[in-house]
Amino acid sequence: MNAHSSLLGLYEPGQGWLFRFPVGLKYLLLLLVTVPPLVWGHWGVTVAALAAVLVLLGSSGIGPVRALRIGWVLWILLLVMAVYHLVSFNPAAAVVQSGTILVAVLAARMLTLTTSTPVLMDALGRALGPLRWVRIDPRQVALAVALMIRSVPYLIGSIDDARDAARARGRDRNPALLLTPVIVGAVAYAERTGEALHARGLPGDD
């Protein structure tokens, strides 16, 4: 399993302006790029948003090859959606639906590729500060979100693992056969994550 297949990518320190941009403003930028194609639903807006997010990433040293490395599962999903609309003689919907999802993923990657997880957790913890009024610790919620983000590459990788295991037994033609091992693997992963937190005394006395 390789984290590079991750939907949200891996943060590596860089010199581009997005790396130095305050995390709160990056969240705002994310909304500015993703909301218009969702609201207008016009293919032109979607293409413009897609170009904008690629330019934003490119201007910070993240080229299209790295930006678009979102994993084969999502590419297949986007392709299936686009082909469905194309054979239904609705090319505009093909661009809007697949393109809007791609814009949202790339905008999320704009955040995760240029910001370390601890910084994202701190920002989220601060933003969720009002939860203290209802006796919920925002830092624990931020930790839960970070662990959820971390689980994405694992779960995508577990689909690959289950497919390889099925292929080794000559039973790779039925995708439904992958479902059980992937679900069992996800539950086991959740249990291991709990144990790993416990092993280093987390969550601590925040």
């Binding site: 984290a3 370390s116 416990h198 092993a199 005394g201 006395d205 925040d206």
Partner: protein, 231 residues
């Protein structure tokens, strides 16, 4: 000090008529030495005993306490004193890169983000892992992952470190590196192993067999008893 009093761990039978499965039987121990090794065949109860020590597993009967804190009644106090290193470091690493993983451990101790990153880098540098700080954990070798996992657990400054077969997945070079690291630790260290050389590094060796401690002595005597049981 860790104390076990009359500890048993039993898994109830799934089907009526089957016998319960006993993982540990009536174990009473005081663990005070600086380095303690557990040896025993697969299924002898080593991992179960180790997991009792920081509350990852709770006893079915008897009590386990760490510096007077019961693992059932005061789990948080126990967790903060006893760090645990798993056999497979990938099961231990929670973040995508070494530096983020160590930072996670430092989160409740150091609030400032820059100071936390600086300290995490410092801890990785101390273990010779600084150059790997921003690599994906999936791109590290088994030995590097194990050292990162150890660094992350030690970052919370536990008084006691428990390690479940930490050298099993390592090659000879990484095994030696980990032994050197263990030898230099200030913490009390309790570990299980199948490697008799690693067991011989300890001050005291416990031999487990079918859920019981059948030998408890300094390494030479205990390992002789272990070889007798195996043969």
């Amino acid at each position: 000090m860790i104390s076990l009093r009359g500890v048993s761990v039993v898994i109830p039978a799934v089907r009526r008529g089957d016998a319960d499965r006993v993982l540990l039987r009536d174990i009473t121990l005081d663990l005070a030495e600086r380095r303690i090794a557990l040896v025993g065949a697969n299924g002898s109860g080593k991992s179960t005993l180790l997991r009792l020590l920081n509350g990852l597993r709770l006893p079915t009967a008897g009590t386990v306490s760490v510096d007077g804190h019961d693992t059932v009644k005061e789990p948080r106090a126990v967790r903060s004193r006893v760090g645990f290193v798993f056999t497979d470091p990938l099961a231990q690493l929670l973040m995508s890169t070494p530096i983020e993983d160590v930072e996670l451990s430092l989160r409740s101790r150091i609030r400032g983000q820059r100071e936390r990153t600086r300290r995490a880098q410092e801890l990785l540098d101390e273990r010779g892992l600084g150059h790997l700080a921003h690599q994906s954990i999936y791109d590290l070798s088994g030995g590097e992952r194990q050292l990162v996992a150890l660094t992350s657990v030690l970052a919370v400054e536990p008084a006691i470190l428990v390690a479940d077969e930490p050298t099993t997945l390592l090659d000879l070079r990484n095994r030696r590196a980990l032994r050197r690291t263990f030898a230099a630790l200030d913490q009390q260290l309790i570990y299980s192993t199948h490697d008799l050389d690693v067991a011989a590094d300890a001050d005291r060796v416990l031999v487990l067999h079918e859920g019981r401690v059948i030998a408890d002595a300094e390494p030479a005597a205990a390992l002789a008893a272990y070889e007798e049981v195996l043969v």
